[in-house]
């Protein structure tokens, strides 16, 4: 067992990752290479297709029963939960020791009350993905993607007029939504003040936008966003989708559509801001020797080579700004994909999650509210109000 | 006498290519009489009855009921009723409902249904059981319900498939008498299947002996009993002694079997003897008391003879049995057929 003191490092380091479909192969390769180079404490990667939330919860349960993994892959949706449960160990030392000069935005994203509890792998902002061919077909200029939501809406209408589905501004959770709220100067949740900002101009405007677009047919309504929207876009049936940049390889995989990327359109009257979610690993073992071994393994993710491979595969923001323009590393990639530069340079706001167990339930409540808005069962204003009230109850119950 | 039922050259094969279960059966049942079908297990009795009822179709041949061709008619349109060996009552219905059921299917009005059911129930003495379920009846009572249900439609022809064989002997005696009385009372035509000799002999106006899907012999019971057409019939009706003929009895050089009924043997000396009497002597091997009579098992060499004598006849160890010549039947050993005498 990984926790038994006798066998601190001679058993493999166990790292759990869900979301195998999201860059799982790349992750496996990175650790395979690590294992090949360093046989002392090899990594066993336990990967599943579970969602990030399920992965975190299962890990928490096994940790509580005393036989958990050494590290767990997290996203912003689960990071806070791991910390609140006391499962995540501080990673500052490990980060410092690696000597990696991390992007400021990354460090901001992972610092909780001044301490970092994870070793990041990549930071993914959301971005506008659009289908070059459909743009042309709709009489739009693919070189001038929409920069505001009004333009986005117009473009969606034009595409919808061709018979394809227009575009989706919403997402399968509140990832996009948090960006829209920020664009109009709010914050869905402030960890410091514990204030909620769902019921804010940005929140209302976002829900309004979703409802209007669904109403005029320029946005399809997917009740199961992840399965349907991605598939529709990959199949060339959806013109635009605002989603995480890290989804790039999966969307690209079908090879049928000419994907172009652009920064997330700005909310009308707001500022351009994307949401960023950090994908990384929290160290969960409490055994110092094993912590060492885990840290050692995770540090490979911070090497310029790893960052290059990751970004090349995912269109995410490089953890190390220095490699971006380095001809030895990413310069080539950006040259080949000029769209990516704008995406990389977006203003970002970290995707926050609610503390403790509240996040999962909030997340579900959010998706339900969004769907009601999309189906125009609930007006936007009412939806934000009731969602905020329900979320407040959840926070109070913590 | 008019024929209530005519079966013409009926043949039945269940699966093509397999042997015939019924092989060219032709018979008539006289109106107002009881015709009994007799034969060993599996000889086709039930199959014949089911074909007459319309529950099976004949592979070839015709059926006439009261001179109307019914070969292709549904059971209910043939105006026949049937009493099953296994009763075939509806377990979820009361006795009254069971009896009324055929009338209900014929859309008879409820009031009349009740009257007619009560009528037949009275004939069979089950008026007091009308509200019971079949599960709450004894075997004899169930069979009476079955008969009532068959009678209530006043069918032209009543088919009964071993109606008494599942019952205990006392009930069997009782119901046998009741069935005959009933038939006398309402003058119906009955086709009755049994493999009980007593039933066949006592109840029927005609017996039909079947064997392997064919009719072996048919006629009034006393005639069949007196002149069985084969060893099969002789054994089946009256449990005849069938033994190889002693050398002196052989004629024409082919093997013969003699048949003598146990009750036709007498003890030598207790009856007037004739010149040509058939005589056997042997050792008494076993002696079964059968109420007023005794069955003596007498061994003469390899051969065992049974004789039925008075229970109080004096017997010793060595016994001589005598039968008069006209009670001695002879059969061809090979084919079992009666020798012309």
């Amino acid at each position: 067992s990984p926790d038994s003191t006798a066998s601190t490092t001679d058993s493999p380091v166990i790292i759990v990752s869900g979301q195998s479909a999201q860059n799982g192969e790349l992750l496996q390769q990175l650790f395979d290479d690590y294992n090949a180079a360093n046989a002392a404490a090899p990594v066993t990667l336990q990967m599943s297709a579970d969602t990030d939330v399920d992965t975190a919860q299962k890990a928490l349960v096994s940790l509580a029963s005393g036989k958990g993994p050494d590290a767990v892959r997290v996203t912003n949706a689960t990071y806070q939960t791991m910390i609140d449960a006391g499962a995540a160990q501080p990673a500052d030392a490990c980060l410092t020791e690696s000597g990696a000069e991390l992007d400021r935005r990354v460090l901001d994203g992972i610092a909780v009350d001044g301490t970092s509890y994870q070793v990041p792998w990549y930071v993914t902002p959301n971005a506008l993905f659009y289908n070059d061919d459909l743009f042309v077909k709709a009489g739009l200029d693919p070189d001038k993607p929409p920069t505001t939501m009004s333009e986005f809406h117009e473009a969606a209408k034009a595409i919808a007029a061709t018979g394809a589905a227009g575009g989706t501004a919403y997402f399968g959770n509140d990832y996009n939504f948090q960006g829209y709220v920020a664009s109009l100067g709010g914050r869905v949740y402030d960890p410091q003040t514990k204030a909620l900002g769902i019921d804010s101009p940005g929140g209302t405007a976002a829900f309004d936008l979703f409802a209007t677009m669904a109403g005029d047919g320029s946005s399809p309504v997917y009740s199961n966003f992840f399965a349907e929207a991605n598939e529709a876009f990959a199949a060339g049936k959806l013109g635009m989708i605002i989603t995480s940049a890290s989804g790039y390889p999966a969307l690209k995989a079908s090879g049928k559509v000419s994907i172009r990327l652009a920064p997330v359109p700005t909310m009308d009257g707001g500022k351009q801001v994307a949401v960023s979610s950090t994908n990384g690993f929290v160290i969960t073992t409490k055994d110092p020797a094993r912590q060492r071994a885990v840290c050692d393994a995770l540090q490979t993710l911070l090497s310029p080579e790893a960052v290059t491979r990751t970004v090349a595969a995912t269109a995410t923001i490089p953890l190390l700004p220095s490699v971006a323009d380095d001809p030895a590393y990413l310069a080539d990639v950006y040259e080949k994909n000029p769209d990516w530069v704008a995406v990389r340079e977006q203003q970002t706001t970290p995707w926050v999650s609610l503390p403790g167990g509240a996040h999962a339930e909030y997340s579900k409540a959010y998706v339900d509210s969004q769907l009601r808005v999309l189906r125009r069962e609930t007006p936007a204003a009412e939806a934000v109000t009731s969602l905020q009230a329900a979320t407040a109850d959840l926070l109070a119950a913590q | 006498m008019s024929a209530a039922l005519t079966v013409q050259s009926v043949t039945k094969t269940f699966r093509p290519g397999e042997p015939r279960i019924l092989d060219d059966i032709t018979l008539t049942a006289d109106a107002g009489r009881i015709t009994t079908i007799l034969g060993e297990s599996g000889c086709g009795k039930t199959t014949l009855l089911r074909i007459v009822a319309g529950l099976e179709e004949p592979s070839s041949g015709r059926l006439l009921i009261a001179d109307r061709d019914v070969t292709r008619l549904a059971p209910v349109d043939r105006d026949v009723a049937m009493v099953f060996q296994t009763f075939g009552l509806y377990p979820a219905k009361t006795v009254a409902k069971n009896i009324e059921f055929p009338l209900k299917m014929a859309k008879v009005a409820p009031a009349e249904r009740r009257t007619r059911a009560a009528e037949v129930a009275a004939i069979m003495h089950i008026e007091h059981l009308m509200n019971r379920l079949p599960a709450e009846l004894s075997g004899g009572q169930r069979q009476r319900v079955g008969i009532c249900r068959a009678l209530v439609r006043r069918p032209r022809l009543l088919l009964m498939d071993e109606p008494l064989s599942a019952l205990d002997p006392k009930l069997r005696n009782e119901l046998r008498t009741e069935i005959v009385a009933l038939q006398r009372a309402i003058g119906s035509t009955i086709l009755y299947v049994t493999h009980d000799q007593t039933e066949a002999m006592t109840m029927s106006d005609t017996v039909v002996v079947m064997r392997g899907g064919r009719i072996e012999q048919a006629g009034p019971p006393d005639k069949v009993f007196a002149r069985p057409a084969s060893t099969y019939v002789a054994e089946f009706l009256g449990n005849m002694n069938l033994n190889p003929a002693p050398d002196v009895e052989r004629a024409g050089g082919y093997a013969e079997t003699v048949g003598i009924r146990p009750e036709h043997f007498g003890l030598a000396g207790t009856r007037p003897a004739a010149e040509d009497d058939f005589v056997v002597s042997g050792r008494l091997e076993r002696c079964e008391l059968l109420g007023a009579d005794r069955i003596l098992h007498v061994r003469a060499g390899e051969i065992l003879w049974r004789a039925r004598v008075d229970a109080d006849a004096p017997i010793g160890d060595e016994i001589t049995l005598v039968a008069s010549r006209d009670q001695v039947h002879t059969f061809d050993t090979e084919t079992g057929a009666r020798r012309a005498t």
Binding site: Q22, A49, T51 | -
Partner: protein
């Protein structure tokens, strides 16, 4: 002359078979078709085993099969060992508490496992059974449904057989092993079908008590192709579904004669 109604029956059944077999046929077709072709509706245009290869690469199939087989057989065998004697006693022996026992069976048979899943989960967590195969087996060994099914059959066995066995000197164990079990093959087979199907298909309970792969059963393989939030890989998904379904289908086709005899209920629930 009875040809027409017979044909009508076959026609009706064939129509129903579209509903019954449709999904299975679609699954089999898709399993051998590349995902792109599936999406385009071109089944079998490019016959491939690639989906199966991909499944084999992405999930530890052998492990899943091994676990599923252990769980199925373990549950079934233990159930037979535990439930046959109980069902025999409830069907054939007279003792105080029998009526209560039979009555309780009738009550428990409808109790959804989900009602009690949480406490069992908590207990297993405390005794360290999480992520183990016994955790998937133990809760189903003493099973009201199994006892009910077997009892139903035992009640219909002829009393004279049991009397004969007692006179022949068979003790309780000998009666069970020599008389009851051999005479009850159909009932035990149908119990096997119920139990093995349930264990093979179970997802609710395993998803409760399993957090890692080591004890995962076949349904996890399927789920791992369903739950991803990226574009769905229909080909491998259907290949995995096929792989998960085939063993049971084969087993059923082999055992069906026995199975169907065992399902002919005669008696009452009591």
């Amino acid at each position: 002359m009875k040809i027409i109604p017979q044909l009508a029956r076959h026609g009706l059944l064939a129509l129903g078979a579209v509903y019954v077999l449709g999904p299975i046929a679609l699954m089999l077709l898709s399993a051998f078709t590349p995902t792109d072709d599936i999406l385009a509706g071109r089944y079998l245009a490019n016959l491939t085993l690639g989906n199966f290869v991909e499944v084999a690469e992405r999930v530890p199939l052998a492990l899943y099969y091994r676990n599923s087989i252990i769980v199925c057989l373990g549950t079934f065998l233990l159930q037979v060992v535990v439930c046959v004697p109980a069902a025999y006693a409830l069907a054939r022996l007279r003792f105080a508490g029998r009526t209560v026992g039979v009555w309780l069976l009738g009550l428990l048979i409808l109790l959804p496992f989900q009602v009690i899943a949480i406490p069992i989960y908590l207990v297993f967590r405390n005794v360290g059974l999480i992520d183990t195969l016994p955790a998937l087996i133990l809760p189903f060994v003493g099973n009201a449904f199994a006892i009910f099914l077997l009892r139903q059959y035992f009640v219909s066995l002829p009393q004279s057989m049991f009397d004969a066995a007692r006179i022949d000197g068979a003790g309780t164990l000998a009666v069970l092993l020599e008389i009851v079990v051999p005479s009850s093959r159909p009932a035990i087979t149908s119990l096997g079908v119920f139990t093995i199907t349930a264990a093979w298909n179970a997802y609710f309970w395993p998803s409760f008590v399993l957090t890692d792969q080591s004890s995962a059963t076949i349904p996890f393989g399927v789920i791992s192709f369903v739950n991803s939030d990226a574009v769905t890989d229909y080909g491998p998904q259907m290949a995995m579904a096929t792989l998960s379904v085939l063993p049971l289908l084969a087993a059923f086709l082999i055992a069906q004669r026995q199975f169907i005899r065992g399902l002919a209920l005669k008696g009452q629930t009591g």
